[in-house]
């Protein structure tokens, strides 16, 4: 039942925010309710973490080692059930979601001053949808939430976004985001249905249950095509390079809370989908596809970095750097060794924190100097109180300096992949240099260089300070002692690795 509450609380809280705004226009109540809601959900996930037993890898069986499960029949006609479950992988993602959701509420405290209630409705419904994605293990239910979370995100960007230059309005950006994701999502639906009908033809029974469908013997061309359907849907969201067109626009146009959610959570649903569905459901096809996926990851690392260097807009720069970071994640996932997969988890968590931090910072700078254009910044270091100090740490984390969580993630991914695909690792290592370049460019152009003005700008207030401090503590904390995270995901990742590489022979990879 706790899982159902986890899912319901954000939706209820969101509705409450809106109703309150209608009753008492202009009050701050929706913000407090949203904060309380996020705290409640975060509390629930922490409780799940403390009471659950995730770090003892038992015998790796055919079924994932679910910590808690909830299941009721939903649409009997197709054997669809309302099936929620948690294992280490989803738990980490859930905690991440709830934590960043809280940050998103906190960082929009001043930025959003119109239609607060409806804003928080959308914000909380996004969280609800994402929680659903991480909990659902019925494929229909997964798809249900996967598509459903797009609607509030669309509203968030379209209604509270910033209209950029060159005719890139917030509505275009939002529509682009929606269409990219929905179209690729439908491909996934086709794949899901293909899988279900293959199972149906084998057994004469409709089911969308992950546990059952995982045993469907499916290989050859059909398996490959169905796997591609899943992969494309996730690759768009990750994003992987030829399918990344929506990301810079969506990020640049979105309000800060939207960017935090996008970078911190929505991109992670894609990696989660690959780890949970694309690989375990089609291990054979995925193994064949691994070289291509890794190549795409490499392209992403370099292309994202090069794009980032050319940006004038702070948020676009951070968005493009996400493409680069997600390239590492893609490589790690398809390397398939335990070490690389664990690295993927850390990298996702670390990137969520560092990107969220950078987005929040650029939001705060925007509130003070009303621009996101780096040509109009410069020399801000002495003028903003303690803000630039935080920025320095997040930038260093983003370039993967040892001592930050990002370093652990990238390091584990590269070490784990080396045994499987040394060439890829060598090439990806070069990407790290580019990462350092664009990070330092960001630092230099925004905070150093010739100053555009002399006046002292407002420093951080208590709320902003607290938000950034929490992020900072987590980045450094995980950077120094990542074991708690690794413990939680150990079993889940061992399972993925087992199904992916141990059961079936691996083909040669470059």
């Amino acid at each position: 039942m706790i899982l159902v509450w986890l899912l319901l609380i954000p939706f209820i809280g969101g509705t409450l925010c809106w109703l309150l705004e209608r009753a008492h226009a202009g009050s701050d109540m929706p913000r407090w309710i949203a904060t309380a809601t996020m705290l409640a959900v975060l509390g629930l996930t922490v409780w799940l973490w403390l009471t659950g037993n995730y770090h003892l890898a038992g015998v790796i069986g055919d079924q994932p080692d679910w910590g808690t499960e909830f299941r009721v029949d939903w649409i009997e006609r197709f054997g669809i059930s309302f099936h929620l479950a948690v294992d280490g992988l989803s738990l980490i993602m859930l905690m991440l979601t709830c934590f960043l959701g809280l940050l998103a509420v906190l960082c929009s405290w001043q930025e959003i001053d119109r239609r607060i209630g409806f804003f928080h409705l959308n914000l909380l419904w996004i969280i609800g949808g994402v929680v659903g994605v991480f909990l659902a293990i019925d494929l229909f239910l997964f798809f249900f939430f996967w598509e459903m979370m797009l609607v509030p995100m669309y509203f968030l960007i379209a209604l509270w976004g910033h209209s950029g230059s060159r005719g890139a309005t917030r509505i275009t950006a939002a529509t682009k985001f929606f269409i990219y994701t929905q179209a690729s999502g439908l491909l996934m639906l086709v794949s899901i249905l293909g899988l279900v009908f293959v199972h149906y033809n084998h057994t004469g029974e409709f089911t969308f249950d992950y546990n059952v469908l995982r045993d469907t013997p499916i290989g050859g061309v059909l398996g490959y095509v169905l796997m591609l359907g899943f992969f494309i849907a996730f690759a768009v969201k990750l994003p992987t390079v030829p399918l990344h067109g929506w990301l810079p626009d969506a990020h640049a146009q979105a309000p800060t809370a939207g960017s935090v959610d996008l970078a911190g959570i929505l991109l992670k649903t894609a990696a989660y989908g690959m780890l949970r569905f694309a690989i375990p459901l089609f291990p054979d096809a995925s193994a064949h596809f691994a070289p291509v996926a890794m190549a795409l990851g490499l392209v992403g690392i370099y292309y994202g970095a090069v794009l980032a260097m050319a940006q004038q807009d702070v948020k676009r720069l951070i968005a493009c750097s996400s493409i680069s970071h997600m390239g590492f994640v893609l490589i790690g996932i398809y390397a398939g060794t335990l070490l690389a997969l664990q690295g993927v988890i850390i990298q996702m968590v670390a990137h969520a924190f560092s990107a969220a931090g950078l987005f929040i910072l650029s939001g705060q700078i925007y509130e003070r100097i009303h621009t996101r254009d780096m040509r109009r910044m410069g020399g801000l270091f002495p003028r903003l109180g303690s803000l630039p100090g935080f920025a320095l740490v997040f930038v260093l984390a983003s370039l993967g300096l040892p001592g930050t969580a990002n370093f652990i993630g990238e390091f584990l991914i590269l070490v784990g992949t080396f045994g499987v695909a040394p060439v890829v690792v060598v090439l990806a290592g070069g990407g790290l240099v580019l990462g350092a370049v664009y990070s330092l460019v960001l630092m230099h152009r925004v905070y150093w260089g010739p100053a555009q003005g002399r006046a002292e700008l407002a420093g951080l207030n208590g709320r902003e300070y607290l938000t950034l401090l929490m992020l900072l503590a987590l980045i450094i904390g995980i950077g120094i002692y990542p074991q708690p995270v690794l413990d939680v995901s150990q079993t889940a990742m061992t399972e993925v690795q087992h199904w992916f590489t141990d059961v079936r022979p691996r083909p040669e990879t470059p």
Binding site: I75, F78, E147, A158, L159, A183, F197
Partner: protein, 484 residues
């Protein structure tokens, strides 16, 4: 040939609807009271709806050679009745401000409904023709009802001329079929085709011509040219009726035709219909992209939706009949809701409908629940989960995958992606805050009026079906043609 008591009992819904039409006629002769006549209509339609429950015990019942009342008929009749109930409540709100004569609209509507029911029940080509004409002829009048507005008149005339041409095709096709097989009975037609016919080409041409006529009624590309103009010109309740009842009844008979007389076994014809479906999905969505008029936009979107649903005709999978039923129900609900909001915003009639998309700017901040209803409808038409439209789309894609119609599945995916663009545009406009626009608003107490309540109920139904589709699925499954 005599009609027994059971026969008459089975015909109860049609008789009730026709009786109501007569009652309205008499009542109009006595006194022109808009409210009274609207009430008679609604009561009559409700009575017909309730009578379906009784009729359900007697099914399947073949009444003469012409019509058959089986579960399939009952399902589609129910859908037709519900849709026309919604249309008449909308018409009441809409016509309240109409300066001309208002009451005849209900007579036309009721006649068209009876035509629709006969069409859904027909098992004979003659009944098919009678039903189709009985459905179409009153529609000319309904489309041109606000004839002082030249666009309405144009809509009526355009629909009449093109519809008559389609009827000619239909008759010619039937004649050829009769010449080839010697029967007009749909079942026997199927049997005759199975046993082999000497004049194979006549059969193909005959069926092809019938398909053209029906494709015209369903407005599949390239027989769609009338659709946007008629949707735009016709008064909103009439357009709603055309978009729902007009499609449901025709589709009901199409399903029966192709399930009992598998003319689709012919490869050419099969591919032709598949091609029609594919072009409709793509072209309908593409044409809708540039529309700034909501009614035209809905017209083009209905073309696309008819394209999706035609997959159920092409497909051979076991899900076909069920998918057709589910998709039609979800489509009808969403269309009714969208037209309902449009009608409420345009009500009472004051010369033009609130068709332009910019009329809806900022609606959410003035009439939040009405805008929320419209949002749900747009999401449902776009097929987003948690709305009924998704269940329909899920069915059609499942059917396409099951029957391995990869081209059509690709068309659905592509069409949906394109379609999102304009559905989202309509949706987001309602949330933009822009002072200074000329405002068209629903009346303040819209929620307490019958039209408003109806729209809210539809929104609830759309969400309900989206979240808990199982009861409806069971219903539609039970009404499959096999059990009839």
């Amino acid at each position: 040939m005599t009609l027994t008591g059971t026969d008459l009992f089975a015909l109860l819904p049609v008789l009730l609807v026709l009786g109501t039409a007569l009652a309205v006629l008499v009542s109009v002769a006595v006194s022109r009271q808009h409210f009274v006549n609207a009430t008679i209509t609604v009561v009559g339609l409700n009575a017909a709806l309730v009578s379906l429950l009784l009729v359900l015990r007697a099914t399947p019942e073949s009444v003469t050679d012409l019509v058959v009342i089986d579960d399939h008929t009952v399902l589609y009749t129910a859908l037709i009745l519900v849709a026309s109930l919604a249309c008449s409540t909308l018409a009441h709100a809409y016509l309240d401000g109409y300066p001309g004569r208002r009451e005849e609209f209900y007579m036309l509507l009721l006649t068209a409904v009876s035509g629709g029911i006969i069409l859904a029940a027909s098992q004979h080509l003659a009944a098919l023709f009678i039903g189709l004409e009985l459905l179409s002829v009153p529609l000319y009048g309904m489309a041109a009802y606000t004839y002082r507005d030249h666009r309405s008149l144009e809509a009526g005339l355009k629909y009449m001329v093109l519809s008559a041409a389609a009827s000619a095709f239909l008759l010619f096709g039937m004649a050829l079929l009769y010449a080839a097989t010697g029967t007009l009975q749909i079942n026997e037609l199927g049997a005759a085709i199975d046993s082999g016919v000497t004049h194979r080409s006549w059969l193909v041409i005959g069926t092809g011509m019938m398909v053209i006529a029906i494709a015209f009624k369903l407005s599949l590309v390239p027989f769609h040219l009338w659709t946007p103009d008629v949707y735009e010109g016709a008064p909103a309740p009439a357009a709603a009726f055309l978009a729902t009842v007009g499609k449901v009844a025709v589709f009901a008979v199409l399903v029966r035709l192709f399930q009992s007389a598998p003319a689709t076994a012919d490869a050419t014809l099969h591919q032709m219909i598949a091609a029609l479906a594919l072009i409709s999905m793509i072209a309908g969505n593409l044409l809708a992209l540039r529309q700034n008029n909501l009614k035209r936009l809905l017209g083009y979107s209905s073309i696309a939706h008819m394209g999706y649903i035609t997959v159920a005709i092409v497909a051979t999978g076991s899900l076909a009949v069920e998918a057709a039923g589910m998709y039609l129900i979800t489509y009808v609900l969403a269309t009714l809701g969208a037209f309902g909001v449009l009608t409420l915003v345009s009500s009472p009639y004051d010369g033009t409908d609130a068709g332009a998309v910019h009329n809806y700017r900022g609606l959410f901040w003035r009439r939040p629940y009405l805008a929320a209803v419209m949002t749900v409808m747009m999401l449902s038409l776009a097929g987003i989960p948690s709305t009924a439209g998704f269940i329909g789309k899920f069915y059609v894609i499942a059917l396409g995958v099951q029957s391995e119609l990869w081209w059509l599945v690709g068309g659905i995916v592509l069409g949906s992606a394109i379609g999102l663009y304009y559905y989202l545009r309509v949706m987001v406009v309602m949330y933009l805050f822009e002072p200074g626009e000329r405002r068209r608003d629903a009346a303040h107490d819209w929620g307490q009026r019958s039209g408003g309540i109806m729209v809210l109920l539809i929104a609830l139904a759309v969400m309900g079906i989206g979240l808990f589709p199982q009861p409806l699925i069971r219903l539609v499954e039970a009404a499959g043609l096999g059990s009839g």
